[in-house]
């Protein structure tokens, strides 16, 4: 029998531990994918995804069911990622990994530094292209990146995005537009003749 998210949350609230496991197993891949998209590093993605579910465990009783469960979960995910990034920013020696576009501009040399742990993409035929895209995504600012990742990877509607980020639709529109424009510019040299 397949329970809806909301039913699982309710059962968890009623003390059914198994439903927590079901929620984790339902969402672990998606949360990991989002986190990886934001932090661009496997070890950190694992660590932060777990942190997300630890918080779910602690705070699920605060979820009041006013929105869909996944928008609540994704909001938590984004918060975990952003606060981890903020923490890392303050740690000396690690600043380079935060290829903040406003700081580093569009200099590809800086972007390369953004992530040293890219795994080769097997599925995408054009490996170089895939890496370029990933690295381009990674170079976006944290806020642009997380909005973009949730839209592109999880296909959240604008309405849902406003709930995750607690901002207006206009803000979402402008963030996505800026994110895409920055990406487009970064990979423009590769765009002609591909796809």
């Amino acid at each position: 029998m397949q329970y809806s998210d909301e039913e699982l949350v309710e059962r968890y609230g009623a003390g059914d531990g198994e439903s927590f496991r079901m929620l984790v197993e339902r969402y672990q891949d998606r949360v990991y994918h989002i986190v990886y998209g934001i932090v661009g590093n496997k070890d950190e993605a694992e660590d932060l995804s777990q942190e997300v579910f630890l918080r779910v465990y602690r705070f699920l009783h605060r979820f009041k069911g006013k929105s869909r469960f996944y928008t609540w979960l994704y909001r938590l995910t984004v918060n975990v990622c952003l606060s981890a990034r903020r923490k890392r920013k303050n740690e000396p020696g690690k600043i380079f990994s935060l290829a903040d576009s406003s700081k580093y501009g569009d200099d590809p040399g800086e972007i390369e530094l953004a992530d040293e742990s890219f795994s080769p993409l097997k599925v995408l035929q054009n490996r170089e292209m895939a890496e370029t895209i990933k690295s381009a995504i990674n170079s976006l600012s944290e806020v642009l990146k997380s909005t973009f990742v949730l839209r592109e990877f999880e296909e959240l509607s604008y309405e849902e995005l406003t709930r995750v980020f607690q901002c207006s639709k206009g803000t979402i529109k402008s963030r996505l537009s800026r994110a895409r424009e920055q990406l487009r510019r970064k990979i423009e040299p590769y765009l002609n003749g591909t796809v």
Binding site: Y12, A14, G15, D16, G17, F20
Partner: protein, 325 residues
Amino acid sequence: MNPGKGFQKVLQCLFVLIILSGGMTSALLAIEPKEILTRSLEAQFGLDFEGIKKTEFRLPGRSYTTTTRIIRQEPDFTYTTTLAPARLKRLVILDDGKFRIKHIRGSNKFGFFPSLNSPEAKEIKRKSLNLIFINYKISKLLDGYILARPVYVISLIPKHSGNPRRKVWIDKKMYLPLKEEDYNWRGELISSSFYTEIHFDKRFSKEKFYRDFPQRPRKKVFSQERFLSLKDLRRKIRFPVSSAHYLPPSYEFQEAVLFSKERAVKLTYTNGLGVICLFQMPSNIKLRGHLEGAHPLVWEKGGRTFLLMADISRKELIKIKQSVK
């Protein structure tokens, strides 16, 4: 006259007599299962013995087994040490009829609870037994042996379906229950306890057991208050208490318990064997964690959080929930 025929008749008469007298004596000597249970209640409070008891507790997907050594001195003293599992080995419980003191050996941790050997506790048990007499079909099965001791085997079958049943093995001489098995309404074994060793009439000097325990705790802070009536309870707490107005057939109020530093209330209802627990507390107490086995109903109403736990059908649980006011 045929002498052979006359002899046959005499034999026949003798046979009938033997059968009759045998039946009558066994009927005279046989003890009613109810009487066995009543005597067993007295035996639980009136014997000196030392024993090792194994208890298994089953929940969906897991089970717990503990082995404890129990020294019982009548009328109201028990000293319990845990032999297994290893993580509980330092747990000692001393119950002297007034307090039930839990202690982790080698630490300065002491917990004070109301005694389970007290007259109040015995009264609760007596009431439960009376409910069993009303709500259960009690029958004696074939006698058996436990630890090479002859035992009565008694089966308790609920008159109303949807309730737990029990099988209990009671020592024929001492009337102490040596083994019991509880099954839930679905017929699954939920717990079993039995003695793996028992020595009757063993006297101990109690003093030595007190060595680990504080002689006179400066302030007796109970971790909980038990055996309260609803009236007692309402006097003791600041928030209003709701109770269930619908109970499945055969259930009655048993006791109110105040715990978790007087912030939470438990009301129990019983049919003598099964229990329904209704917990309530102010809503600023949040529940953390989850349960792997039990499926309680949890809800909030009027600034209070309620929790209802019982091994009965979901339909009945919901009916009780709706009646809580």
